[in-house]
């Protein structure tokens, strides 16, 4: 696969060009956290591609927290804009991979997810500075995009080194050939060195791997283990809403004038009424059961469905947790 270099003085040109085709979002580092912000031509362009993933997960670009999915009695078409996500990290690509399977791989295809996915160009960036909360390596993932995104780039001193993973990505490189140069061996070597360094850092942060039979252990966990694991949970649900792979939602209807608007809202399996039926029965009325459901869903059931974990190792859950519960500790000890 060929790589292409975008020299530092051409980055803004490229971003401006793309932003004329669709709204573009890129990472900005502010007050200790990175956020994906919209680019406006004329604004100061101050990206940070080195820091870890953004504080907020990116699932909302494909699966908004509130999304009108139908109108009743007469439905209407809701237009979706073209977008570029410029500089997202692999842990968020892994989230997209889970969503692609649920919303497009499993029949029936979700038309709203698919349309947003089709109209969003994803450009990922290497993640050279993993932090203590990161654990993608424990799940077998790399600190750089290697699939799912259309393009991936590595930030080198002499520019951004791009690689295309989709036809759409190749077409973008082709369209802007005039501002790219073909990469030299030295650039690719430098990329490899940076990636190896990042992997080394991750292996130092998380030196103990998860056990090979993790799904079986999660399935067989006894009540005492589960109680110990959830002991500090105060049911704030931050872990679930911050998660880039959680895909639960609820359909809720609202009156809009004479019509009804059906809205799809993010839901979370820790809510007490989540699984309760009309008649009152609740298969997970106890927090122990709900707490463990998250682990079963991510590390047992999803492996049975798709042979991958529904966890990307982004670490948002443990940073967001009101009780500072570290998911790694639970998985190491199960």
């Amino acid at each position: 696969m060929k790589s292409y270099l975008l020299s530092p003085d051409k980055i803004l040109t490229f971003v401006k060009e793309l932003s004329r085709d669709g709204s573009l979002y890129y990472p900005v580092f502010e007050e200790g956290k990175t956020h994906l912000v919209g680019f406006d031509d004329g604004d100061e362009f101050k990206p940070n591609f080195a820091k870890i993933r953004t504080a907020e997960n990116i699932k909302g670009f494909f699966f908004p927290s509130r999304d009108t999915v139908a109108k009743f009695p007469k439905d209407e078409v809701r237009p979706v804009e073209k977008r570029y996500l410029f500089g997202v990290k692999n842990c968020d690509l892994r989230g997209i991979d889970v969503y692609d399977r649920v919303f497009m791989g499993w029949e029936p295809v979700d038309p709203f997810y698919k349309e947003r996915r089709d109209k969003t160009i994803v450009i990922s960036a290497d993640c050279p500075e993993p932090e203590d909360s990161c654990f993608c390596n424990l799940l077998g993932f790399n600190p750089y995009g290697d699939s799912v995104s259309d393009l991936n780039f590595t930030e080198l001193p002499n520019g951004l080194l791009f690689e295309a993973y989709t036809k759409r990505g190749e077409e973008i490189i082709d369209a802007y050939k005039n501002i790219f140069t073909e990469a030299k061996d030295a650039d690719e070597k430098e990329r490899k060195a940076l990636r190896d360094e990042a992997i080394k850092k991750l292996n130092k942060i998380n030196s103990k791997p998860f056990r090979k039979d993790l799904p079986a252990r999660v399935e067989a966990a006894d009540k005492e283990k589960i109680r110990n694991a959830r002991d500090e949970c105060v049911e704030c649900h931050a872990c679930l809403h911050a998660c880039p792979t959680c895909y639960c939602f609820l359909l809720s209807d609202y009156q809009k004038g004479k019509d009804v608007e059906r809205v799809r809202i993010w839901d979370a399996c820790y809510y007490a009424a989540y699984a309760r039926v009309g008649g009152g029965a609740n298969p997970r009325s106890r927090i122990d059961e709900r707490f463990w459901n998250r682990f079963q869903c991510k590390f047992d059931f999803f492996v049975k469905y798709e042979n991958i974990f529904a966890c990307s190792g982004c670490g948002r859950c443990l940073l967001g947790c009101s009780s500072k519960i570290d998911i790694r500790e639970i998985l190491w000890n199960v």
């Binding site: 009743f72 649920v102 869903c297």
Partner: protein, 271 residues
């Protein structure tokens, strides 16, 4: 748009409302907005209130679609305030139908409790449609009191049908009740079918499901021949939103009917 949006409910009017018991009513829709097979369910939208999953109680071969529904919560409360001619929405069909091809030539043992008899009526009518293909249909149906039995207007006719054996029981009788008294398991003490080959189909409230299943397992039915309706919270019906999951099953996609073989290792599968 209508055809490709799986979240859009098809509008349809309520044609007729038939009260069955003090808290159970049959709603007959004006036509059949969706095709379905016995055992599949639909999401019923009450405008401005929301939707909830119900299995039709009518035959898949009928021109009008019927639902027999118990008043239990927000959505059904609103539905019970609706009148003939009012508009509702229907989405579906969802889930897998009963595997009728596996029932051919066999005795079928149907066990219902309370409003759980509603989806079983759809199955029963589908079986009647092709009665010669089945050896015999046994129905065992229980409710709390004689007042709580649904389809009282239809049962005497069904009992007259050759090759249909229908027994009733109530937990508590009254002066006029001549039949059996006791929970539904009292009419499961004798199982007059070939348990090695016959399918048995159960639908009812959680406790009734639990004890009936126990009894049917004891009677010797093969675990993969015990078909159980799983009542779960279902929002999308598409196997995505995750609410209905029990063990590794999405009840809306893999069910709503699962076999005892599939759910027996799950702790309290009927809750």
């Amino acid at each position: 748009m209508e055809r490709i949006n799986p979240y859009y409910p098809i509008p349809v009017k309520i044609k007729k409302i038939i009260p069955e018991t003090p808290n159970i009513t049959t709603f007959i829709l004006d036509g059949k907005p969706i095709d379905f097979e016995a055992g599949q369910f639909a999401e019923l939208t009450i405008p401005n209130i929301g939707e909830a999953p119900f299995t039709p109680s009518s035959s898949p071969y009928d021109d009008d679609m019927e639902f027999t529904i118990m008043k239990v919560g927000r959505v059904t409360d609103a539905l019970f305030n609706m009148k003939e001619g009012d508009l509702v929405g229907v989405r579906g069909p969802f889930g897998k139908p009963y595997p009728l091809q596996n029932f051919k030539g066999k005795e079928i043992f149907i066990v219902g409790g309370g409003v759980g008899f509603a989806p079983l009526r759809s199955l029963f009518l589908a079986l009647l449609h092709d009665l010669k293909s089945y050896k015999k249909i046994y129905i065992r149906y229980g409710a709390r009191t004689p007042q709580d039995l649904v389809y009282k207007r239809l049962i005497p006719e069904w009992q007259k049908i050759d090759r249909v054996d229908l027994l009733l029981t109530v937990d508590v009788g009254d002066e006029s009740w001549q039949g059996r008294v006791g929970v539904v398991t009292v009419i499961l003490d004798k199982v007059p079918v070939d348990v090695k080959s016959s399918p048995t189909v159960v639908c009812g409230p959680p406790l009734m499901m639990k004890f009936s299943t126990q009894r049917l397992v004891e009677a010797g039915f093969k675990h993969e021949n015990i078909y159980l309706s799983m009542e779960k919270n279902m929002s999308c019906g598409l196997g995505k939103c995750n609410h209905c999951r029990v063990g590794r099953f999405y009840v809306c996609k893999d069910g709503p009917v699962l076999t005892w073989e599939e759910v027996k290792d799950i702790e309290e599968p009927f809750l």
